[in-house]
Symmetry: C2
Subunit: 308 residues, 2 copies
């Protein structure tokens, strides 16, 4: 089934305690597509400036991205620079230069308009809704957002949520959106406003899928070294959506598997700078990590207690 | 198989954002035994002052505790008072009065010396080792400790660890003991010093069992309301050890189930003040929660991805 992502295409300069990178490929649509395309083809919609290294993007695209929705506009590409502290859970934004992204008005190419699966990356909720209206008959719509929009475009965001099947956000975002610090209550608040599902990403503490009457928890993968957390959430979304699009199965059992594929992609993303890890791995590596996740949480309920 | 616990028997005064309690039953041995005895009989070793409400303790004991190891000494019982902040993850100790606990020299009653399973609650590691030497032929020894002993009695603690099968500690303790902030590396450090297993309790972020070459993760149970976190770790230990003693099975599969029984007991402990919740629940309630844990993490690896 067709899978479209709309989001940012950026150049990231990142400093962690373990090294730094300058103007590397980044942005929500790029992480999403690099992770997702290992599982299923991804149709990318975004904008770059004339300075963007399109050759690098096209090289990646050979693995299964369709870049016909990427517009090259006059001006500079979106640039982000950030620095992580020693525990990698806090980061400081050093610079954000929107460039051509400031005037991004996504136009979905005709061949993408039949997509069944749509991921609305973290952009202005008015644009997210506009994108959605360009898709003829989406069957499963996911969206991300951020505190900036929750504060500044709340009405537009709530209007968008009515058309969304799953909201994928981090813990601070779902707390701010709902006004409830308790993650599961916050998720249920969201579910009263449109989405049937809420995925809450909690970084090193894993991710939670909240369905009506049911919760599924995936821990973060126990990596010995986390190198750069940038893009983990979008890589999660890429794995999650591409798995669902590739299997075209929205059963509860498959939604759970999609969570694990998403978590696996998030765990790969943080092992290298930028999208570097996704150039090294294959579907077999992803499947091996999914099996490792299974071993991490699996237990059988068949022990026999002697009468106490 | 016989199961002995040595630890504190206290009177706790606790204030949380949801209420307060004065001089309620508490202490590591009490939480351990109240949780554990739902699964398997627990032999309790500890000391109280003449002011302790022994009637209350004896009432609880009817569920499967053997109190022949509880000494009543001249003086005041151990008292602890604490106050939790709004997020329940930080607490302030308002008062600690050791009373008769200051001179506690545990003597294991003859009928307890054949115990196969031993839990050394958080007391001076020299006393923990002394207790262990009174047990004739323990097959599975677990111990807890705290930052106070890690700092002040490091040599004695390392000596004790050589005789311990599993160290049950929280994340800050294993970090301080090993000098490594990374939980899994820290656990492996511990495993070089004696224990074959390390259980790291992470509060609202669940618990981890580290075995040689294998990790098992149990999330915290998604409760809507946490009332009072006091005793959750000792209740975990009680469920964990009593499950193992009751099944007498140290296979990897059963060690994992024990983690879930421990987590279930921790989740019950926090639903009421003191040990009140353990007076309400039965083995059937515990088993229902274990099944709920299974549903919380269970997934099958059998989805079929179309060729990407």
């Amino acid at each position: 089934m067709g899978l479209v992502v709309v989001g940012s295409i950026a150049l990231d300069s990142v400093e962690t305690p373990f090294g730094k990178t300058e103007e590397a490929l980044g942005g929500s649509a790029v992480f999403f597509a690099c992770a997702g395309s290992i599982l299923h083809p991804v149709q990318v919609v975004g904008v770059v400036g004339r300075d963007y290294p399109m050759g690098e993007l096209q090289r990646l695209a050979q693995r299964g991205m369709d870049l016909r929705g990427v517009t090259v506009a006059d001006g500079e590409s979106f640039r982000w620079a950030g620095k992580y502290g020693f525990d990698l859970s806090t980061r400081e934004t050093l610079e954000t230069r929107l460039g051509v992204f400031a005037n991004f008005r996504p136009v979905i190419p005709e061949p993408f308009r039949d997509a069944a699966f749509v991921f609305l990356g973290n952009i202005d909720p008015e644009l997210q809704l506009d994108v959605l209206q360009q898709i003829r008959k989406p069957t499963f719509v996911a969206c991300d957002t951020m505190n900036f929009w929750i504060q500044g475009k709340r009405t537009a965001l709530l209007k968008l949520l009515k058309h969304v099947d799953v909201l994928l956000v981090n813990d601070s975002e779902v707390r701010e959106l709902s006004g409830d610090w308790h993650i599961h209550r916050a998720a249920r608040w969201v579910m009263k406003h449109g989405p049937k599902l809420v995925v809450v990403k909690k970084g090193e503490h894993g991710a939670v899928l909240v369905e009506e009457g049911r919760i599924f928890y995936v821990p973060a993968f126990p990596l010995d070294d986390v190198f750069d957390p940038t893009g983990a959430g979008d890589s999660f979304a890429g794995g999650y959506m591409a798995y669902l699009a590739g299997t075209n199965d929205l059963s509860s059992a498959n939604l759970r598997r999609a969570m694990v594929y998403g978590s696996a992609m998030g765990s790969f993303a943080v092992e290298r700078f930028s999208i570097a890890r996704f150039e090294e791995i294959t579907l077999a590596d992803v499947q091996a990590r999914v099996r490792a996740y299974h071993d991490l949480v699996h237990f059988e309920i068949d022990g026999e207690l002697a009468a106490g």
